[in-house]
């Protein structure tokens, strides 16, 4: 077990170093989430957002070695780690307090469908329902608790992405909230696919890629 944990920590550190965000990473991220010509401050916001998530990967890698069936699942294991990092970072962000005596807030309402595409959310819900049906039909009932946990994680990320206090530039803040919801829904879909397996698993990986790259939000955002 200790050997597994050390190995996982090593893999997590290598992954952290490989994915450590730079200015070009932040700029690319913002451009892919519809922030055209990001300023230096906006890029810093994006880098901070990525660092907060990726710094958690090694710890989650180690943590997963202590979870029965938590490792060695290929796509499912990778998706669980990234989803775990997103979840922890979003939950930590809900606890961040405003500092200084002068506080600024925009008056733009921030409901779920103001920041997330209803198509992404409905697709994820459909994949979960189909996944449950397939697991029951194929008598893989033992996989259901893992599926329920993954749905709970996606739900928590979605809630936190809406509820957490605004941070940094408004446009970047909105874009990264959308990213958190869409990426976590995609990861959740990949996890469902990994639990079901077969052709549905492949379909879910494609759905993951599509959801994580959907930067379209159904309602108009005010800026």
């Amino acid at each position: 077990m200790l050997y597994d944990a050390l190995w996982a920590a090593g893999v997590g550190l290598v992954l952290l170093l490989a994915l450590w965000p730079t200015r070009s990473t932040g700029k690319r991220l913002l451009k892919s989430w519809r922030v055209k010509d990001p300023t230096s401050a906006q890029i810093e916001d994006a880098i901070r957002y990525l660092k907060r998530r990726r710094f958690l990967y090694p710890w989650i890698f180690v943590g997963l070695t202590f979870v029965p069936l938590g490792s060695g699942r290929g796509v499912g294991s990778f998706a669980a780690i990234v989803l775990g990092g997103t979840l922890l970072a979003e939950l930590i962000a809900t606890q961040l307090h405003r500092e200084g005596s002068q506080r600024v807030a925009t008056l733009t309402p921030r409901g779920l469908f103001d920041i997330a595409s209803q198509y992404v959310l409905m697709s994820y819900a459909a994949i979960v329902v189909i996944g449950v049906v397939l697991l029951v039909v194929e008598m893989k009932i033992g996989q259901l608790p893992a599926l329920v946990v993954s749905v709970g994680a996606v739900a928590l990320v979605t809630w936190a992405a809406v509820a957490r206090p605004a941070d940094g530039d408004e446009q970047v803040d909105r874009a990264l909230r959308t990213r958190s919801v869409h990426v976590s829904a995609g990861l959740g879909a990949a996890l469902v696919g990994a639990l079901v397996g077969g052709g549905f698993g492949l379909f879910c990986v494609l759905a993951w890629v599509a959801m994580a790259n959907t930067n379209y939000v159904s309602k108009k955002i005010f800026w």
């Binding site: 405003r98 506080r103 600024v104 807030a105 925009t106 733009t108 206090p165 005010f222």
Partner: protein, 122 residues
């Protein structure tokens, strides 16, 4: 288009709920938030400003009592009517500018210089 903002200064001697209320009144009077505009939930605005929920709730409640805001189950909080005794639009715009200038850390002199520069540029 820039979204309207609320700026609360915890050290200016005016109660935070009052600052929120007064700025909402100015934004509504000045036409920045027309009738029918959706406002953020109390929880969202309180979180973004780092204030207690009760502080923002009081500002909203005061304006609901005056008939300026209306909260419904489906639509959330919306602007229902213009405030009575509304300040003239120029005063409202000036107050809005001052709030933004303060949020940028500009002094009174710097803000006035910026206004003059804008006039001269036209």
């Amino acid at each position: 288009m820039t979204a309207p903002r609320i700026v609360v200064d915890l050290e200016n001697g005016v109660a935070p709920w009052r600052q929120v209320r007064d700025q909402l009144v100015r934004l509504i009077s000045g036409g920045v938030l027309p009738v029918g505009s959706r406002l953020p939930t109390i929880r969202q605005l309180a979180a973004d400003l780092g204030l207690a929920i009760g502080t923002v709730a009081r500002a909203y409640r005061e304006l609901e009592t005056e008939g300026v805001l209306m909260t419904g189950r489906r639509q959330g909080t919306v602007v229902a009517a213009l405030p009575s005794h509304a300040p003239d639009p120029l005063s409202a715009a000036a107050a809005e500018f001052v709030a933004v200038a303060r949020s940028l850390g500009a002094s009174e002199g710097e803000a006035l210089n910026a206004v003059r520069a804008s006039y001269e540029a036209e």
